[in-house]
C-alpha cells in the first residue's frame, strides 16, 4: 500500500486567551492507517481535531494535505479537502430519516434526489459493512445507529480522512466490535483514520500508531506493535513533577461520610455509578481520580442530594448528635435541615455554583438568603462576607457589585470556594477546583483546602492533574466508568499506578449490563 501522508500537521499552536490548548504539535497520518490520539482530559485532543476540521483556525503552524499546504478556515474547506469529522455529540435532525440527514446541507440544484441518494447510501453500507436502514427516522435510533449515520454521512461526501472523537464512549462492547470492524474495512480501502480516545485497550486493539498529547504538548508517536499499556500510560501522565504543595499529617481522622453501594443511572438509562462504596474521613483530603465522565459528577451530586439514586446509602456521621443520618433521596434543603453542613464547589461554576449575572453580594446570599422569617432580603451580612472574601483571597474585582461573570476564572473560583468555606462545613466537596486557574490562584485554593482539612473537615477533592492529587491528598479513590477501581495511599502511590487504574475498563461487566 502506498504510504504517503494523507494529512500532516507541523508545529500547530492554538491559544485561547492565556490558555495554551495546543503547543507546537506535529503529527501525520498515512493512507490506510489508523492513528490514535491519546491524552488525558484537557490535553488538547479535541482542539487539535477541531483545527483539522475547520472549526478553529491555528494561531501558528501548517497543515499539509497530500503534501500540499492547506488552509482550512471553515468546515466547508475541510470538506473540500475530503476531511470528515464525527463529533462526540451528534449533529442530526431528529425528525428526518437517515438518508435525509445524510444529504442535508449538500449543495445540489433543485430538489434532492432521495432515491439516488438511498442507493448510494446502500452501496456505502455494503462496502464497509454498516447496518443501516436509510428510511429510519433519527429519533427512533439507538446511539450506535446515530453514529453510523454520522459516519456514512461523511463517507457520502467523499471523505477519505476521517476523524472520530471518542467514538466508543457511548457504545456497548458489541457495538464497539462492530465499529472496529468497519474501521478496519475503511483502512483497507485506503482511508486515513484518526480516533481520539483515552481507553488504552482500544488503542492497542485498533490503531497502527499512537500519538500522545499531554497538557497541550505533543509527547511523541509510537507504533502500537512496539509498545504496551504501561509505556503509553507513562507517556500520557508524564514523569512526576514536584509541586511542593504543603501537606500535613491527618490528625485523628474519623469517618464522616460513608457511601455504601450506591448505583445511579442517567436520563438515557446508562449506568453512571455502579456499586460505589467508600468512606471520607474528617481531617483528611480524599482525592477522586478518573477520566472525565467516569461518574465523578454523579457521585458528588448524589452526596449533595442532587442526583437520584437507584440504590445504596450515603451515611453522614453527625459530630453533634453522634448519630448516622442517611442523606440518600433527600433534597439539598432537607440535608441542610438535618444539620449537615455540606459544602459543594461544583465543576460548573457559573452554571451551578454561582449566578453569572448577579453581583458578588447576591452570589454570597445563595446559601444564606432563606435564613430568618422576614420576607425581605438581608444584604448586610452577605456584603460583609463579599468584602471579606475579596480582601482575604485577593479577588481582583472593581467592587463587590460587579457581576461575577465579568471576573476572570480564578477570581470566580475564589468567590465560590470562599462562599462554600464560609458556611463552616463539616464536609467540603470540590470538583476540579483549580481547572483553568493560574498557578497562584491554584495554590490559594490548595491552601484553603488544607486549612479546612486541618480544621477537621472531611474534604473530597475531584481532580484531573495526577501530580496535584498525589501531593495534596491523603488517599485517592480511583474510578473508571462508574466503578471504584482502587483506593491508594497518596503518599506512596505512583502516577503510573493511578493512570492504569483510571484506564482499567471492565468490559465483561459492561457486556452484562447492555
Amino acid at each position: 500500500m502506498d504510504k504517503t501522508a494523507a494529512i500532516e500537521l507541523k508545529n500547530i499552536t492554538k491559544t485561547f486567551g492565556s490558555v495554551v490548548a495546543n503547543k507546537q504539535v506535529s503529527l501525520s497520518v498515512n493512507r490506510g492507517e489508523i492513528l490514535s490520539i491519546l491524552g488525558e482530559n484537557g490535553s488538547g485532543k479535541t482542539t487539535l481535531m477541531n483545527m483539522i476540521s475547520g472549526i478553529y483556525f491555528p494561531d501558528e503552524g501548517e497543515i499539509f494535505i497530500n503534501g500540499e499546504e492547506a488552509v482550512i478556515a471553515s468546515p466547508k474547506d475541510a470538506f473540500q479537502y475530503k476531511i470528515g469529522m464525527i463529533h462526540q455529540h451528534f449533529k442530526l435532525v431528529d425528525v428526518f430519516s437517515a438518508t435525509e440527514n445524510i444529504v442535508l446541507g449538500l449543495e445540489e440544484k433543485g430538489r434532492y434526489n432521495l432515491k439516488e441518494a438511498e442507493q448510494k447510501v446502500h452501496a456505502i453500507c455494503e462496502q464497509y459493512g454498516f447496518e443501516l436502514d436509510p428510511h429510519k427516522k433519527i429519533y427512533t435510533m439507538s446511539v450506535s445507529e446515530k453514529q453510523t449515520v454520522e459516519i456514512v454521512k461523511v463517507l457520502y461526501r467523499g471523505a477519505d480522512i476521517l476523524i472520530l472523537d471518542e467514538p466508543t464512549a457511548v457504545l456497548t462492547p458489541i457495538e464497539i466490535r462492530k465499529l472496529f470492524s468497519v474501521l478496519r474495512k475503511m483502512r483497507e480501502d485506503g482511508k486515513a483514520i484518526i480516533i481520539i480516545t483515552h481507553k488504552l485497550n482500544e488503542v492497542m486493539e485498533i490503531s497502527d500508531r499512537v500519538s500522545v498529547l499531554r497538557k497541550g504538548e505533543y509527547i511523541g508517536t509510537v507504533n502500537t506493535a512496539e509498545t504496551d499499556e504501561a509505556e503509553l500510560t507513562e507517556m500520557m501522565v508524564g514523569k512526576k513533577i514536584s509541586l511542593n504543595i504543603h501537606r500535613s499529617e491527618p490528625k485523628n481522622p474519623t469517618p464522616r461520610l460513608e457511601v455504601h453501594h450506591i448505583n445511579c443511572s442517567n436520563r438515557e438509562g446508562v449506568k453512571m455509578l455502579d456499586d460505589v462504596s467508600f468512606t471520607a474521613q474528617a481531617g483528611e483530603i480524599l482525592g477522586i481520580a478518573g477520566i472525565a465522565g467516569s461518574g465523578q459528577r454523579e457521585l458528588l451530586e448524589a452526596i449533595a442530594g442532587l442526583q437520584k439514586l437507584d440504590s445504596g446509602a450515603v451515611l453522614y456521621n453527625n459530630p453533634q448528635t453522634g448519630k448516622m443520618d442517611n442523606l440518600c433521596s433527600k433534597t439539598p434543603l432537607q440535608i441542610r435541615e438535618l444539620g449537615v453542613r455540606l459544602s459543594f464547589v461544583p465543576e460548573d461554576r457559573l452554571g451551578m455554583g454561582l449566578v453569572g449575572n448577579m453581583d458578588i453580594v447576591d452570589n454570597m446570599m445563595l446559601r444564606s438568603y432563606s435564613k430568618g422569617k422576614s420576607m425581605f432580603l438581608e444584604r448586610k451580612a452577605p456584603r460583609d462576607l463579599a468584602e471579606h472574601i475579596i480582601d482575604e483571597l485577593e479577588v481582583v474585582t472593581p467592587n463587590a457589585n460587579t457581576p461575577v461573570r465579568r471576573l476572570s476564572g480564578g477570581n470566580v473560583q475564589k468567590v465560590l470556594v470562599g462562599r462554600e468555606i464560609a458556611a463552616a462545613p463539616t464536609v467540603l466537596m470540590a470538583a476540579y477546583p483549580v481547572r483553568g486557574l493560574d498557578i497562584n490562584s491554584s495554590y490559594t485554593i490548595y491552601n484553603l483546602l488544607n486549612e479546612q482539612k486541618e480544621n477537621g473537615v472531611a474534604v473530597i477533592f475531584v481532580g484531573e492533574d495526577l501530580d496535584v492529587l498525589l501531593e495534596l491528598c491523603d488517599r485517592i479513590l480511583v474510578i473508571g466508568s462508574g466503578h471504584v477501581t482502587g483506593v491508594v495511599d497518596a503518599r506512596t502511590a505512583t502516577k503510573e499506578e493511578i493512570g492504569l487504574l483510571m484506564t482499567k475498563t471492565t468490559v465483561a461487566e459492561k457486556g452484562e449490563r447492555s
Binding site: V71, L306, P332, V355, M358, S370
Partner: protein
Amino acid sequence: MAGMGKTKHSRIHIVKREALPWYYRVGVRALAIVAALIVTAVVIMLLTHKNPIQVYISMLKGAFGTELRIWSLLQNIAILLCISLAVTPAFKMRFWNCGAEGQVLVGCLATTAVMMFLGDSLPLPLLWTVMLIAAVGAGIVWALLPAVTKSLWNTNETLFTLMMNYVATQLVAFFLKTFVKNGSGVLPPMPEYGLPRLLNKDYLLNIVIVVVLTVLVYIYLKYTKQGYEIAVVGESENTARYIGINVRKVVIRTLVVSGALCGVAGLLLVGGTNHTISTTTVDGRGFTAIMVSWLAKFDPLYMVLTTFLIVFLDRGTQQVATDFRMPNALSDIVTGIILLFIIGCEFFLQYKIVSAKAGKENA
C-alpha cells in the same frame, strides 16, 4: 498565510464589550431615539409629502393636545404598565408567559359578570371587593393552568399560554351571546357599578393604583426573598437546584403573582374604564406588555419610560393618521421603526464588530 488567498471568507467577528460607563449607555440610547425620529420623519415625508415638523407637532398634539387627551394618555399608560408589571415576574423567571392577553381578558370577564349579576344586590363597597376578588381569581386560574402542567409534565408554556388566550376570547364571545338580552352582542356600559372616581376624575384611581403597584413590584423583585428566588430560577435552574430552591414551587407561586396582576389589569379596564366588555377589550396589550417589559430589562421603574414611549407613539401616530388622512397602519410602521432602533442599539451596547485582522491582534 500564503494560502489565505485561495479561500474567500469575509471574516467579521462579533465581540462582547466590556461594561460601558453609564453616560455612554444613555447617550447611545438617546442617539438611537433621535436617529429613529429622523428616519420616521423621512418615511412620513415620503408617504405624506408634508413637512415633518408639522407631522411631529401633530404627533405631540395627539398625545398632549387637550386635557382629555392627556388623561387618556395617562390612562393608557396605566393599563399597559399594569399588564407589563404582571408579565415581568414570569419573564424574569424565564417563563415565557404569552398569555397576559387572556389572563387580563378573563379578569375583565369576571369583573363584568360580577357587575352584571351582583350589581343590584350588593352595596357598592362590597361589590367592588367582590369584583377585585373575582378578577384576581380569574387571572390566577388562567395563569396557573399552564404553570401547573409545566411543573408536572414540562409542557411548553408559550404554546399553552397562547392557546389559553383563544379560550378566553371565545369565553367572552359566548358570554356576550348568552347574556346580552337584545341579541346585538354589544353589552351596554354599566358605569353605575364602576370603581369610585377619585377627585371626580375618570381615570385617577387607575393611575394611583398602578403607581402603587409599580413600586410594590419593584420592591418585590429587588428586595424580597421571593424576588431573589425568581431571579435565581430565571438565571440558572441548575443553581436553583444546587442551593435547594424548590423550582416547581417558585414557578407556580410566581405565576400566581403574574396572573393576579393581570386580573387587576382586567378589573381596571372594565371597572375603572370601559364598564363593559367585548372580545377586543384588551386589544393586544397583553403582547405589547411583553415588549415593554423586555425593553426595560424587567425593571419596573424603567418600564414607566418604555410604556410612555409606546403609548405616546401609538397616540401620536394615530393623530398623524387622522390629520393627514393616512391609514392607521402608519402607527404600526412608525412604532416598528422606533423599536427597531432601540432594540438595535442594545445590540451595539453589548457587542462590537471587529474585522478578522483586528480581532487577531487583540487575541
